[in-house]
Subunit: 166 residues, 2 copies
Amino acid sequence: MTEERRRSTPTPEQLRIWRGFIETGETLRARLAAQLQSESSLSTGDYQVLLALSEAEGHTARSSELAALIGWERSRLSHHLGRMEKRGLVRRVPCADGVHGVDVVLADAGAEAFRAANIPHLRAIRELFVDALSPEQLANVDDITAALRTHLGLEGDDHPADLSRG
Amino acid sequence: MTEERRRSTPTPEQLRIWRGFIETGETLRARLAAQLQSESSLSTGDYQVLLALSEAEGHTARSSELAALIGWERSRLSHHLGRMEKRGLVRRVPCADGVHGVDVVLADAGAEAFRAANIPHLRAIRELFVDALSPEQLANVDDITAALRTHLGLEGDDHPADLSRG
C-alpha cells in the first residue's frame, strides 16, 4: 500500500465503523418499512407524501415544493403521485395561480390512511431506535448528524426540522 | 394527546434526531452512489457483489451465501446477477458439489472494474464521512451502532466486520 493510498483511504477500523453506520441505518429503514406496509398498506414513500401534505397549509402543496421537501427527483415524485392518485390518496389539480405547475391535495382517503398509520409508525420508531439508546447516546447521534450535515453542505437545509413534530 | 400516546411515541426532539440520523445516512448513500456511478459505471449493488466476490476464496461464492452476505433477498440478487452477467462482470455456474445451487464467479472484467472503482470509492468514504468527524465522534458512531445492533438482534451478525478490510 503506497503512502498516498494510506493517507487518502479509510483505515480498516474507520471502514468498519462506516459500514456499521450505513448498514444499521438500512436495517432500521427496512424494518420500519415492513412494519408500515404490513400494518397500514402504505410504503415509506406514501407515508412521506401524506406526512408532508398533512402538515402543509390547506393540506395542499405544489408538486415542486413537495419534491424538495421529501428530497426526491421531480420525475420520481410524479410517477409516485400518479399511483397514489389512482388509490384515492391524493388529488392533483392545476396550480391556484393558474399559470403553471400542479398542486397536490391530500384526499379524504389519504388523510384517513395517514391517521391510521401514524401512531403505530411513530411507536415503531420509538421501539426500534429511541429505546435502543441512552439519552447521552441520543445526544451523540444529534451531534454526529450535525457534523455530517455541515460537512456535506446541508446546513440551512431545514428538512428534518420541518418534519419534527410528534 | 393521551397519556398512553405520550409514553409510546417519540417526543418531537427524539423524532427530530431520528429524522436527522436516517436522512443523513440516505444523503451519504446517494452521494457515494452518484460518485461511484459517474467514476466507474458501477451501481452500489454492483460494487457490493464485486467486493464480496473479490474477498471470497477462489473469487467464488454460492449465490445463497452471497445473498446473505450482502443482505438481499435471493430473488433480488438473482435478477441483479443476470444483468451483471450480461455485462461480463460475473459468471454463474452449477455448484461444484453437483447437487443444487449456483456458484457465482468473479469474471476478469469484474475484477478489473472493481480494481478501478475501489480506491476512488474508498477515498470518497473518507472525504464524505471520516473527514467530517473527530476521532471521538467516530468512536461514538461505533458505540451507537453497536447499541442499535444489539437492540435489533443483529449481534453476532458479522456482516460489517466481514467487509472491513481497507
